[in-house]
Every structure is written in C-alpha cells, then in structure tokens.
Amino acid sequence: MKLLVIEDNPTTGKHLETGLCEAGHEVLWIKDGKRGLDQALTRQFDAIILDLMLPELSGMEILGKIRIKGDRTPILLLTALGSIEERVAGLQAGADDYLVKAFAFPELLARLESITRRTAAPAIVHEIGLIKLDLSNRRVTSGVTELQLTPTEFSILELLMRQKGHVVTRKMLCEHLWEADWEGTTNVIEVHINRLRSKLEKVREPTMIQTVRGRGYTLGLN
C-alpha cells in the first residue's frame, strides 16, 4: 500500500516509517501539517496516518480540509489525547479510525488493514499447518480430527489465523471478543489461550500458539 504518514515526533515517525516499510508498504513521511496537507491533496494514497498534534496545522484541520475536498482516502488518526470526547470528535470529523498513543505496532497494522479492506470480502476459510477454520459453519479441524472449541476459543483462533505471521496483542483479542479492551493486570485471555493450546497439542497439531513477551500471541509452526 502507498501510505502517507504525517507525524512530527521524529522518533515515532522514524519507527512508523521503518515498521510500515518492513511490513511491505510504500511510505511517505511528512513532519509538518502544511506540507502534509499538500501531499494528501496532490497525490493519491491508499491510506493516511495522521497525528492530531502537529505544528502549524493541526491534525483536525488537515482532516477537515481533506474531507471538504471530497477526498475519501482512509484516514487513521493517532492521538495522544485519549478522552472519549476527543475520540468521538475525530470520528465525527471524518476519520475512519483512531489509535491512542502509545499503541502496539501490530494494532496499527491491523487497523490499517481494516480501514483499507472495506471492499474486499474477508476469507471464509483460514488454513495454517493442518488446521482448517471454516467461518461458514464455525468448524475447526486438524487434519481429519474435529476440534471442539468454545465460542471464545474459536474467536481467538480465528483472529490469530487471520493475522497469521503477525503478532496479535491482548488488546486486539479483547476487542475482537468483547468489543472493548480490558486494561487491567488480570490476563483474561491467557486462560483461553492455554486451553486452546492443550486442545491443539492433544491432536498433535504442529501449529502452536506462541507467546510474544510484552506484545501478545502469534501462530507458528512447531
């Protein structure tokens, strides 16, 4: 994807540029609002990652100016202001989604994917290793054996398979399962992950859920 990143913080900007490039995207990183707006209006991007607090021209102003031109390029807001009013204001001004800083990088990738994927229909069947997950009948099989999963376990596996090769954070899993994140020390995901793991082990499935310390989980081959 061709991405425009408008972010004034040099460290954040640098890491965004590197991370997005490594994820296979073409990135143009602009450090100030004015030039950012120029680029957004003159060139075609698949998505714009827009910081809200910028020198000269604020993110909200840029957002307004892009949308008033009728430009519907997907825009993901990055904001340090996390209050509900501010998030609502961003979405009402025409942003497609927002991420509150500090976010985990996999979340940024997942959100980018979801705001740019609007037209393409998500896959019905996911496969990795021997596991086959069918969303149409909500069945999971490992080779010929059918796995008996609870709805929670099914949803966790579904997200992990959809994001195969990528890290899935606890926050992403929480939001996928219960529509909202749980910001507490109690790991409400871990117990389900453990059960899912033991069910996979039972059928000697070569695929396993790996814990990525400090970040989340990912599916990998044993």
Partner: protein, 466 residues
C-alpha cells in the same frame, strides 16, 4: 486588586452618601414643615389678639360713645402701647361714616367698613371687623388691624435657627455616617487584604472573625470553609501528582536500566531480544497506568452532561462475565450471575471499566472454592434506580482499610501480597467511583472480615425514548 482611585465607588462612600442625602432631605423637609406651622400659629395668635382688641374697643365705644375724647384717648393709648405691632383701629358709624381713626392707620387703608368679619390680610396687615349694636345707636363697626411685620421678624429669626441646625446636619451627618460606615466595612477591608495574599500554593491564611456573629462573620466563616476545602483538594492533588510520578518512575527506571545495560557492550541477538521484550512489557504497564490517569483526569469531580443513549446494563454485564468466566474457572471460583433487564443512561466506555474492575476485584480476592454473586436489576429499595451488586465470599476487608479503599493508589495488604511484583495500579476503585459519580450514580462497599465483600452500584434508570 483594591484600587484607591475609585474611592467614590467604595461601599463606605456610597453608604455615607445615600444615607446623608436621605437624612438631610428628611430633616430639611421637617424643618420647613415646622416653619410653616409656626408661621400659621403666630398668625392665628395675632388674629386672636386683634379680635379681642376689636371686641374690647367695641365695648369701650358702646360704653363711652357720649364722650368722644375718652374714645380718642383710648384708641391713642392702644395704638401707642401696641406701637411695635403697628396697631391701628377705626370706628365706623351706622351710616358708614368713620367716627374715629387712629393716626397709625395706614393711609391707604379704606375709610369705611370691611366686607368680611373674619381676619383678613390687607397688605402687610391683618385686619378684623366686629359689629356692635347698642342703645339705639344703630349698627356700628369696629375695625382693628395689626402689622404682621413682627411675625416676619420672628420667622426670620426662626429661619436663621433652622438654617444653622440644617448646616450642622450637613456637617455632622456625613461625618458620623462616614465614620460609622468605616467601622461597619472595616472587616471587609480586612477580608480583601487577606484574600489578596492568598495564593493557590499558599492557602494557610484564614480570615479572622470579629465575634459579633453578624453577616460579615458568616461570610468569613463561609470563605474560611471554602479555603479549607480548597486546601484539602490541593493537598490531595499534590499527593496524587507525587504518587503518579512515583508510579511512573519504577517502570521507567526498569526500561532505562535495561536499555543502558544493553548498550553497555555488544550482545547476541537473543540477549537483545530479551531486553527488548522486557522493555515492551514495561511499556505496556506504563501505557495502562497513563490511560488510567487520563481516565481519572477526564472524570474526576465532573458530571457527564452529554446525552447518552440508554444501554442495557444486563447486556454489558453479560459481556463482562464472558470476559472473566475463564479466569473464574481457572481459579475455581463459582460465578453466579443473575441478570435482569434494566437500562441506564451511562456512557458505554465508562460503564465497561466499572463492571470489569469490580468483577476483577471480586475474583482476584476470592479463594478457590469461593462463590461470586453478580446481580443486575431494578433496585428493590427504589424503583427509579438500577442496582448492580457483586458479592464475594472472600476474606473481606477490615474497617480501617475499607475507609481508604477509594483513595487513589491505595492497595490493601492482600492486594499487595496477591499481585506480587506485577501489582495493579491501585487506581481501579477510585476510577470506578469517579465514573459512577460522574454519571449520577452511587457506589458503596460493605465488608466483614472472613465473610466477604458486597459492592453496590446504583444508577438512575434511563427513561426509554420512544
């Protein structure tokens, strides 16, 4: 700032000015009324005198009409003895002819009868006429007059007195008024001076009471208690800020130590990986803390005024239970829900952390084999509120700890020992409290050691639209 240039706008000046003005006008009017009354009284007195004189003269004439010399002599005597009054008189015969006339009679005075009986004014004179009828002399008339000049001179003297009295008032009234107003408003000046010295960081000064128990004392009391509350609030904020900084410091220290050690010498890739993973973990903790601090700042002491569409508390509770069901099973705690439909007008992003935090606490502090009851429904003690109750059969909380439970960063001994190193922030319950109260709800915790804890949250029921 207390400005001295607008002195005429001061309360003291205005009090004095209006009070004196009203007083001087009232006293002036009173004195004028007094003067008019006095003038009338003197005139009336004079009228009585000349009536008497006229009657006397008439009687004298009736008696001595035969000896005109005696009458002339009597009139001369009278006009002489009443000279300073400008006395004069004339006696008119039945045919209208002037029989006698004192020389003091004004030349312009008509020779003849008046047409009226009562005392009338004639120029600078009061004149009265009486009729007499005796011994077949026919109807005669006696006219007696007296100058009003002496009244005028009396009144002039009185006017001088009045003027002096009034001028004294002009000096005394504003003077004493200004002094009294100064006395009355002195406490206000003190309040101003003390208030000017107050700074947000230095609120130790208090206004002194006069002890009179008047309105100003009451005002001082109100201001002092406001200062007390502000001081408490600022102290709390200061402690909170310091605590927050401390809480931020330990993950920061861990990150810094990790990074500096990593950079100290070249390392293998797995070593770098481990340090970065540590850092990511600490960052996640930092993020959580910062988000909680922001949530507190967003809701603390605030009322959520935006119109919020009603949400089904029981539906949200179902989600919370689904979220924690696994944890409960893992810890062998039986989670018993009883969810009855009820709607409340609470922002969903604020309601979720409340439910999650409370259930998380109940599960965290329950021992294996315990039961947690999770109830949602209409409050049986008041049908206009929704009740959420979470009851655990955990170890309970001591009364001492119970009172501090909602304090920010407060952790019970059990919380500290259970959480171990990856401890909670100690903000969960204070966030719950400010979120609940921000949505016009109440939260209470009852607990008995060894028996368990009961958390009750009440919200006003939303009136369904449409």
């Amino acid at each position: 700032m207390v400005s001295t240039d607008s002195w005429f706008r001061s309360l003291r000046f205005r009090l004095t000015f209006w009070n004196s003005l009203v007083l001087l006008i009232l006293v002036g009017l009173t004195l004028l009324g007094l003067r008019a009354g006095m003038s009338l009284a003197l005139e009336h007195e004079l009228d009585l005198l000349i009536k008497e004189d006229a009657r006397e003269t008439a009687m004298f004439w009736e008696r001595f009409h035969a000896t005109p010399e005696a009458i002339t002599e009597e009139l001369r005597r009278k006009s002489l003895s009443h000279e300073e009054r400008g006395w004069f008189g004339q006696i008119i015969g039945p045919k209208g002819e002037v029989l006698f006339r004192t020389p003091s009679t004004p030349i312009s005075f008509p020779q003849g009868a008046l047409d009226s009986n009562g005392p009338v004014s004639f120029g600078r004179f009061r004149v009265v006429e009486v009729s007499t009828e005796k011994l077949g002399l026919g109807v005669g008339r006696v006219v007696v007059g007296s100058s009003i000049d002496f009244i005028q001179s009396d009144m002039d003297q009185f006017d001088d007195l009045i003027l002096v009295a009034w001028l004294l008032m002009v000096i005394i009234a504003p003077g004493t008024g200004y002094w009294l107003a100064g006395r009355a408003t002195r406490p206000i000046g003190e309040i101003l001076r003390t208030a000017e010295k107050l700074q947000p960081g230095r609120l130790s000064e208090r206004l002194s009471l006069s002890g009179a128990g008047d309105e100003l004392d009451k005002l001082c009391l109100v201001i002092n208690s406001l200062l007390d509350r502000l001081t408490t609030y600022f102290e709390r904020q200061k402690t909170f800020l310091a605590n927050a900084a401390h809480e931020l410091r330990s993950p920061m220290a861990a990150i810094r130590a990790g990074v500096e050690v990593a950079l100290h010498r070249d390392r293998t890739a797995p070593e770098y990986r481990e340090i970065l993973e540590d850092t990511a973990e600490e960052c996640a903790g930092l993020s959580m803390l910062v988000n909680q601090l922001l949530l507190l700042a967003e809701m603390e002491g605030k009322l959520w005024n935006e119109v919020t569409p009603p949400v089904r508390l029981d539906d949200l509770a179902r989600q919370t239970i689904s979220m924690f069901q696994g944890v409960a099973e893992q810890n062998q705690i039986q989670l018993v829900p009883n969810l009855l439909p009820v709607s409340i007008g609470v922002n969903i992003h604020h309601l979720r952390p409340i439910l999650n935090n409370l259930l998380d606490n109940a599960l965290k502090y329950s021992n294996p084999g315990a039961t947690v009851f999770f109830h949602v429904g209409v409050d049986p003690n008041g049908s206009d509120s929704a009740l959420l109750s979470i009851q655990d059969t955990g170890p309970g909380i001591s009364p001492d700890e119970l009172s501090k439970l909602f304090d920010r960063f407060y952790r019970t001994d059990i919380a500290r020992s259970k959480d171990g190193n990856r401890t909670g922030t100690g903000l969960g319950l204070s966030i719950c409290k400010s979120l609940v109260e921000g949505h016009k709800g109440t939260i209470t915790i009852e607990s008995a050691l060894g028996k368990g804890t009961l958390v009750l949250v009440r919200f006003p029921i939303a009136t369904e639209v449409g």
